[in-house]
C-alpha cells in the first residue's frame, strides 16, 4: 500500500527566514509562526512539486540530499528512514502545514 497522499499549501502561502540552521516560517492561512529544523523545510519543499505519498516525498528529497536515517539505528535501512520521515510528516500535519488529500 502506498499510504495516504499529503499536500501542503503552495510556497507563496509561506514566508521563511533562515536563522542559523533553523527556519522561521510564517504560514499565511493560519497566521502562525513555526520554527522548523531539518528535515521539515525539505519535506515542504518536496511537496511544492505536488501532492505525494511518504515514499514519493522521500524519493524527492533524495534527489537533492543523501538521506541519513534514524541516528541510533546504526545502518541506513530504507524502512527506518521512511518510518522517521512519516513521523516528521505527522508533526507537520499536526501543525497544519501538511494535510491529507
Amino acid at each position: 500500500m502506498a499510504g495516504p497522499r499529503f499536500t501542503a499549501d503552495p510556497p507563496d502561502m509561506m514566508r521563511t527566514v533562515e536563522l542559523d540552521g533553523l527556519t522561521a516560517l510564517f504560514h499565511l492561512p493560519s497566521g502562525t509562526t513555526h520554527i522548523l529544523a531539518p528535515p521539515a523545510p525539505q519535506i515542504l519543499a518536496a511537496l511544492a512539486d505536488g501532492p505525494a505519498t511518504a515514499p514519493t516525498i522521500l524519493a524527492r528529497i533524495r534527489r537533492a540530499f543523501d538521506v541519513e536515517g534514524p541516528r541510533r539505528s546504526g545502518g541506513q535501512r530504507r524502512s527506518g528512514a521512511l518510518a522517521v520521515l512519516e513521523t516528521r510528516i505527522a508533526e507537520l500535519e499536526a501543525a497544519g502545514l501538511v494535510s491529507r488529500l
Partner: protein, 289 residues
C-alpha cells in the same frame, strides 16, 4: 468617573479614571511635565471598588478598563498608584497593536538604541534607569515599541518602577522630586516610581534604530560572563517577550525577523551593577553598528 487624568507617553495616549481622588493625585504629581495628550485616548484604565461597599470599607482597587485580566486581585487603596500603573501596562500588553510590543527596556545614544530584555529580576529596569542618568537617553524601562514599517524603536518613557534593592541605588542618584511615594508591602515588595529625566520626556517622540540586544541575568553568585546568542534563540526569546507578536501576524513576523537578522545579541551574567554597566559599555563599543 469621578476623578481622571490623561497622559501622553511616547506615541500612546492613556486615560485613567478613578472612584477615589488619591490615585489620580499621585499620578498627576508623578507625571508632572509630560505633554498634553493628543486626543482621543488610545486606552482607558478604570480604578473601581471590586464590590460597591469597597469604596469606603477597607477600600480596595480593582484594575479595569478597555482590557482586563480575570483572576487579578484588587490592591489596597494606599497602593492606588501601583494599580494605575498596572492598569496602564495591562492596556498596552493586551490592547496595543500599532507596534510590536516587547517587554524590554531601551536606552539611546547617538540615535541608536540598546534593547535589554529578560525575566523580571534580571535587572533590565534598573540598568536602564542608571544608564538613563549616565549619558544615555532613557526610552523606556518596561515596554519597547518596534515600528512595523521601518523597524525603529519608539520611546515609551513611563515612570520607572523601582523595586526593593534598586530604590536605594537610584535615591542617591536623582533629585527627590522625581520620585513617587514609597509603597511598602505591595504584592511585589517595596516599590517606588521614578520619573524619567527632563531630556527623556522632551524626546519622547524621537525614535532610534536598534543597534544591540542584551539579555541580562542577575545573580549574586553569577560570575560575569558574556555569551553569543544565536539568531533562532533570539527570535524565540523575543516572541516570548512580546505580548502581541502572534496577533500581529505577518507584519510581526517581518518586523521581528528583520530586527533579529540585523541586530547583534548577547546574553550577559552579572553580580553587581557597576560590573554590569561596564559590560554594557564595552559591548556597545564593540558591537553597536
Amino acid at each position: 468617573m469621578r476623578h481622571q487624568v490623561q497622559l501622553q507617553i511616547g506615541p500612546v495616549a492613556l486615560r485613567v479614571g478613578s472612584q477615589w481622588a488619591g490615585p489620580i493625585k499621585a499620578l498627576t504629581r508623578l507625571y508632572e511635565g509630560y505633554p498634553e495628550p493628543e486626543a482621543p485616548c488610545d486606552f482607558t484604565v478604570r480604578l473601581e471598588p471590586d464590590k460597591p461597599w469597597r469604596r469606603w470599607i477597607r477600600p480596595s482597587v480593582a484594575v479595569g478598563g478597555d482590557y482586563r485580566l480575570p483572576g487579578s486581585v484588587p490592591l489596597a487603596l494606599r497602593h492606588g498608584l501601583l494599580a494605575a500603573e498596572l492598569g496602564m501596562n495591562l492596556q498596552m500588553a493586551l490592547g496595543h497593536k500599532r507596534h510590536l510590543l516587547l517587554h524590554a527596556s531601551s536606552v539611546e545614544r547617538d540615535g541608536r538604541a540598546l534593547l535589554m530584555t529578560g525575566e523580571s529580576g534580571a535587572g533590565k529596569s534598573t540598568l536602564a534607569a542608571l544608564l538613563g542618568e549616565r549619558g544615555w537617553r532613557l526610552m523606556g524601562d518596561e515596554f519597547a515599541l518596534l515600528d512595523l514599517d521601518d523597524g525603529t524603536l519608539h520611546p515609551f518613557p513611563r515612570a520607572i518602577s523601582l523595586k526593593n534593592g534598586s530604590i536605594a541605588m537610584l535615591e542617591t542618584e536623582v533629585e527627590g522630586r522625581r520620585l513617587g511615594p514609597r509603597l511598602d508591602g505591595t504584592p511585589k515588595g517595596v516599590i517606588r516610581h521614578l520619573r524619567p529625566n527632563a531630556g527623556a520626556i522632551a524626546a519622547m517622540a524621537e525614535r532610534a534604530a536598534p543597534a544591540l540586544i542584551l539579555f541580562p541575568r542577575f545573580g549574586a553568585d553569577l560570575a560575569p560572563a558574556v555569551r553569543k546568542v544565536g539568531a533562532a534563540e533570539v527570535f524565540v526569546r523575543l516572541t516570548q517577550a512580546s505580548t502581541n507578536y502572534v496577533t500581529l501576524g505577518e507584519r510581526g513576523f517581518d518586523a521581528l525577523t528583520r530586527l533579529v537578522v540585523s541586530t547583534p545579541a548577547r546574553a550577559i551574567d552579572y553580580h553587581d551593577t557597576a560590573n554590569a554597566l561596564a559590560l554594557v559599555e564595552g559591548l556597545w563599543a564593540d558591537l553597536a553598528r
